[in-house]
Amino acid sequence: MGLKILTEHINVPGIETLEVYRKHGGYKSVEKALKTMSPEEVVEEVKTSGLRGRGGAGFPAGMKWSFLAKPEGVPRYLVCNADESEPGTFKDRWYMEKNPHGLIEGMITSSYALGANTSYIYIRGELMFILRILEKAIAEAYAAGLLGKNIMGSGYDLDLHVAPGGGAYICGEETALLESLEGKRGNPRNKPPFPAVKGLFQSPTVVNNVETISSVPWIVNNGGAEYAKVGIGRSTGTKLISASGNINNPGVYEIELGVPVEEFIYSDEYCGGIWKGRQLKAVVPGGSSVPILPANLILKTAAGEDRLMTYESLSDGGFVTGSMMGSGAFIVFDEAQCIVRNTWNYSRFYHHESCGQCSPCREGTGWMEKVLHRIEHGHGHQQDIDLLVSVAKQIEGNTICPLGDAAAWPVAAAIRHFRDEFEWHIKHPKEATAPGAVYRGQLDAVTA
């Protein structure tokens, strides 16, 4: 059992109430920060911790905080990104549902560090039941003097509100999120200006993921240096992994960064192995936007080393033989799954979710969906594979926001690693479209 920074008390009955949460040391970081530390000292601790953004990009949180502009007389905002819509990701929903005060404590301590007096939690609209849980906990915190004016007699004021979205994956992108929070369509903004200079209501703003913010109290209580001791290299601390797909124990696991992938998949402490006694075919280790890897490459790097659950190890080999940590959504495929079908499914998702502002993304995602649909349904042409690769290339890097890349990468990676499966679909449309048909060639290559 590794160290639990976020989930130590998560199964304590009643932990969602202020009383029980405080009994287990809750809100200590608020008292410590507001009464004994300057905001700059809190930022320093977070920098020292090496904590990286848990929303997907992995940008160091302390560094992001230190970029926040601080013009005189202009309010600053902290906005928590609880949009959680990346397919495969459900850790933030799970965490907020079980431990709402953990996030609220993190919001207070982090808002203090940034000098924000009003903060928002933007949550995807489908999670209205979580919004209710958060609002109940926020009301408790106000009643106890942990929010509002002069928190714990420190002279620091903070209002905290929860805002629901309306069903749009793109609103997880931070500038689309800010547009949405202003009551508009979720169209990502051109950058610069960056949110740190002009964000919510044209004011300096930090946007951080739920898990990032919820990690701050432990860092304040124990010190950034202590946090940095956990994990490996630049992958410090612990990470919540959403494990889904064809495994025995799907769910959310807090791991110390550095657990070997093989242990994560097969140990009973985590995924508990592949279900139905089947074999592992592939894994998407960081949410639908990151490259898929076949079994051999997810377990070992191209150099033959054990692949570890760290930012560096998961991306070892770049996009040729590696992938990414992303949001920590670990999606496992057994031998009976069809990669072509899954790739088509993802491309439909990105086409559906493209906001339509940039033509390479709007047209390219539609095109990829159409071509993949025809391959999957037995009408593909041999040239379609190269066509897909070329469309993906034209989207990549040519768009306002990273959704374009996120749509292109999974297609490119699926073809890179499972080209023979695509070819088989095109050459043998009858066999490939028979119910339950799956190409086994790749798997034989892995197990041979």
Partner: protein
Amino acid sequence: MAETINEVKFSDAAMAEIQRYISHYPEGRHKSALLPILHIAQAEFGGWVSPEVMDKVAEILDIQPIEVYEVATFYTMFNLKPVGKHVLEVCRTGPCCLRGADELINTLKRKLNIEEGETSADGMFTLKPVECLASCGTGPMLQVRELFYENIDSEERVDEFLAMMRQKEHETPVWAQQS
């Protein structure tokens, strides 16, 4: 005070909830409350937002109706046409498909005798496939109003679910409950 345009009238509880959201934003930034208000409107008026309802929302926020239309059409949660009593928002995305989401959608289609986007003849169910609902570990799953129904992975589970829903009234949203 009667808040009516074309007979669209929010209840007092809904108006109070709308005011609560408006109060969360700085002076002059009340448009931020648009999405929450559209959710309240949808819950108030039968699970969808009509042009008349959107016009009323524009009036409450003192913005142009087009500002409401362009937002309501962008976000997938807002239904712009009448729907059945229960809108079955079934996750159709990859991770749930690994655990049987395609089968769930097909079973629902067969049992309700409808295609995606349609409403059953008795007006009870609308089938609305949606993208990942952040519940992939308990898929296949679906959402109805504010609640999730998870691990619906067999024909028996579908039957149980449909039988339960046929008896079920909507939960009253917290803001509309008498305290």
